[in-house]
Symmetry: D2
């Protein structure tokens, strides 16, 4: 299933080592002004380059091939392409016989009968999230003046993230992290229970991002050990402002006008430089595997902007369904 959304819809395509990856955003209202440079900020935040990220360098230059005319959205589907440039497919040949632990090598092979393009993890590559980031730029314009903001609050179990990354590099291993995302200025009433409450739609899209293992809203797992009298947020004004925000801005699956708050757990990249045990599918023997190729020590560093994009996208779709957008945000 390569698409998601009700009135605002995203679909993605491409493989890591094919010609390009791309995204189509459909249902975007006509007349939204977006200058092409506006995409660069968010695309740059997703890029590697910082310490702890892969040495594979990609320009990630967006080509706008439909849906824009004279710097405005036209109402037609928006398609954006990103050519793949810095490919080294040879790195991946071994994974056909010795699937990397923790990766999709084995499951993709079995699901697609061996016909999948395994190079660079193919359609399972984190590179596919480029399109989601681009969609997020558009979604952020739609939801204005709602703002989403995500940042990494923990890596490798520590809130000193630089130190955690250095430690992992030194150890020649990979680490995970926790990302917190908030959305401010939300209208009351977004969300479509029973089956599409805010939490359902956000977690659905967040879990499509590779490497996510947990999503929690407001007090999250902590809520399970609180008393109701502690957890409940007292309403203190007629616009629904609450004293605390254990609910994370959602009651009954619907935004309550307070900040939306959620956290996601990112696992350590499976492609660790550490030695690992895996099965040689051809011989049936256990072998030692050392993943070479170019990989991230802490992919969580690059994910906050993707989380923002996912949150903005879901909120934009809800706002369109609630008829709170339209000719206003242009």
């Amino acid at each position: 299933m390569n698409s998601f959304g009700t009135l605002l819809r995203i679909s993605i395509f491409g493989e890591s080592h094919g010609d390009l990856v791309g995204v189509t955003i459909d249902g975007c209202p006509a007349g939204i002004k977006i200058e092409m440079e506006e995409f660069n900020t968010d695309l740059s935040r997703r890029k590697s380059g910082k310490i702890g990220t892969t040495p594979r360098k990609e320009l990630d230059h967006p080509e706008f091939v439909s849906g824009f005319y004279k710097e405005h959205t036209t109402g037609a589907p928006i398609t954006i392409l990103f050519h793949n440039q810095n490919k080294r497919s040879g790195d991946y040949n071994d994974f056909l016989s010795t699937p990397r632990p923790g990766h999709a090598d084995f499951t993709a092979f079995r699901k697609f009968g061996g016909y999948n393009d395994y190079r660079g993890s193919g359609h399972f590559s984190g590179r596919l999230t480029l399109g989601l980031v681009a969609a997020g730029v558009i979604a952020k314009k739609i939801i204005f003046p709602v703002f989403v903001n995500a940042q990494i609050i923990e890596a490798g179990g520590s809130s000193d993230i630089d130190q955690a990354v250095q430690k992992a590099i030194h150890r020649q291993d990979t680490i995970g992290g926790i990302i917190e995302c908030t959305a401010e200025n939300l209208p009351i009433g977004l969300g479509e229970p029973f089956f599409n409450p805010v939490e359902s739609m956000i977690s659905h899209l967040i879990y499509a991002i590779p490497a996510i293992k947990g999503v929690e809203f407001g007090s999250g797992f902590q809520a399970a050990s609180m008393y109701g009298s502690q957890h409940n947020d007292a309403i203190i004004n007629q616009e629904g402002k609450t004293e605390t925000n254990h609910a994370g801005g959602i009651n009954g699956g619907i935004t309550n006008g307070n900040d939306l708050v959620f956290r996601t757990a990112v696992k350590p990249p499976s492609s660790t430089p550490a030695k690992q045990k895996t099965l040689n599918m051809k011989t049936g023997n256990l072998e030692e595997l050392k993943v070479t190729g170019r990989h991230d020590v802490c992919i969580a560093l690059r994910i906050p902007v993707i989380i923002e994009a996912a949150a903005a996208f879901v909120l934009a779709d809800f706002m369109l369904q609630e008829q709170r957008v339209g000719r206003i945000n242009k």
Copy 2:
């Protein structure tokens, strides 16, 4: 949005204090034999009655009004109704002016312009999950020989759940809990990335269950503080069996043949007997609120069977899409 699913679809309807709540399951293969008594086990597990659950007693007797003929599914939509009997709507009148903290009273009022049926929380009542449990019974037949099993592993922060409930009753408050669900015997290859990986679809449906604040898979939030070399599960045979199961049975959004494992955080019920502060919407003054009516001290006690139903439903839908079911499981 009252429906969910791709080939197997569920839709629910009804309000807590209306005539009935109901469910329609569409896309179920014809010819599955189900005896009506098979529904009782799961419906009973969801019922109140145990210490820590509401004194509202409902028969929860399923009426099968379509889709069955001679004890087999017919291939037509299956509709099951549950009449509401033990209603005390007067309990809810006050919440119009003084919305309960943590509950959907305020958001539903605002979203539906005051037209929503607020009695017994209306369409936002946990009573709507009856239909999901019934759908789960059918889904469990479809996925056989896959088995799902969910149980509460923690309440109020403690693994001694009885004691935690007693403590909360004594304190006149409510508590949350954590539920763990596993699915055994899964085929390799279920899940539809990019946008419908297993985690996305399960968390989507789980978050539709009232009171859920967190969903995590495998090592979940714990993964964020592990090294890649610790987290990766070594593959040890050609059917993909792994030595550990930090991935919770999923790689790249696709089942890998090991047990699916996920946990959900349930918040303490908002309707606590403890005194709370809330706003009187009419006067604009803060008031003290004491929720009477009949409510659960620990709703998490009743939720495992609902979690199982959600997991079984998603797996059944995936299996139908992967063409692994059909004339076999009848």
Copy 3:
């Protein structure tokens, strides 16, 4: 697939000789006032009773079991049930071995492996359209001040419809007819090309009504033998009013502000009292079949109100997507 629609969604359930048939309408805005009697006019138009229609009499009394409170829609799913009363299932036993020509007996048996409820044609009965008519009543409120109107313009090849019916009764046979539907007062801009233009959505829903064999818009099949200079409708004012209406109110899949006009062809009922040849599936021999039971001579007489309902439903869904409804039509 028992559901249809994007923001306004209908799902139906039930079999002709089960306990009941029903409908759920989801996505209807809250606060629309509908008195229960308003359903009776349209439900009566669908009823049998006139010359040329079946002697099976049903009360068709709607039971409103959810989604209404104090005579207004609540924003929750609306479910309406119709109990089946006047059943004579014995009439249908023969069709298991000798499927009626032109009917779904054979295809349903094969699709559902013999598990379908064949009594009264089960889920394939025209009785399922009751729910569509009820949904139409609600849709007509949503689209106000747009009005839809459908009428039979031809039966058995003649515009004198009474005479055509008398002739068929005399001949002991069944006849078809042509129904024309118009919608007045339409806003410009409804329709969602590329894949959901107005024609696509209307024809999709119209063809779900049993017995429909053709749908054409504006000049329809006649357009194929016109010159472009004849067919084009000259625009004569700035609101898009055209001199002629060969387009049937649609250009490029989008309403142009003129009347929507389409016609549907209804085949003669398959259950003709005339003698027919069919195969005895058990013996493999050709046999003579005379369909008894209670059937319509000219089902087209009862279909205009169903066509209206389908058109109103599609238009309401488009209006919700175009944000032209909401708090206005209440």
Copy 4:
């Protein structure tokens, strides 16, 4: 709405005078062998070049940018691009103020608030059907050994199509036509009533093709003037073979094993060289319009292969839902 389908899904993007038009096909089983040349036959059939078609020449060369690897489908989304080359956008400037009768100029302007890319009719151009033809090539592989075949059977009211075209050219006008499509070798049981019978899905997709005004199945509109005893098709063997085929291969919305037969009416192109009256939106005056640019005299000549593609696509989606495909057709 730029996408269509349940398990097999198509989405399209692009504008006539943008960089390119494209298509993404998702849900195609992995391992289907398709050589790139196989696309050329169908793409050529859609091309202009014959007498009666536009002098705009396009290479229509497909670029396969994802979803194929080593000449087989990979299971990932398939994206195919077609660069636009032979653009003459200046031809379209006038239509901003004087919308062409019968065309989407006016409705698109109003729906998208003037932000749509009007050049070459933008997203409303018949050029968008290129992607549908490419999807059809893939669908035809999936449904093998089912064959679809469409041909023009009438143009300008005549079955001598060459003569009709010559007459229209001489008259300096445009003409419509009727296309008949059949599908042979169909399995029994395709179609998903109540809301997705075969007729609904085919007509839905057919009406997305620009210029279609009518769709009828089997005896179609003719059925309305037949007796039931004439219209019913006698079943003559146990595989459901019928003596006649007035039903067009469908009973109760489900294929009955006989040939699927349907016809579509194509209107004459709106862009006629004949003089027409239209409104100058700026002045409010009626003006004479003479459409220059490069257009088709009889677009119906190019549509059969698009109709085939649409039919094949719908049948492939149904076959995937009925689990009749998969590892077999590779």
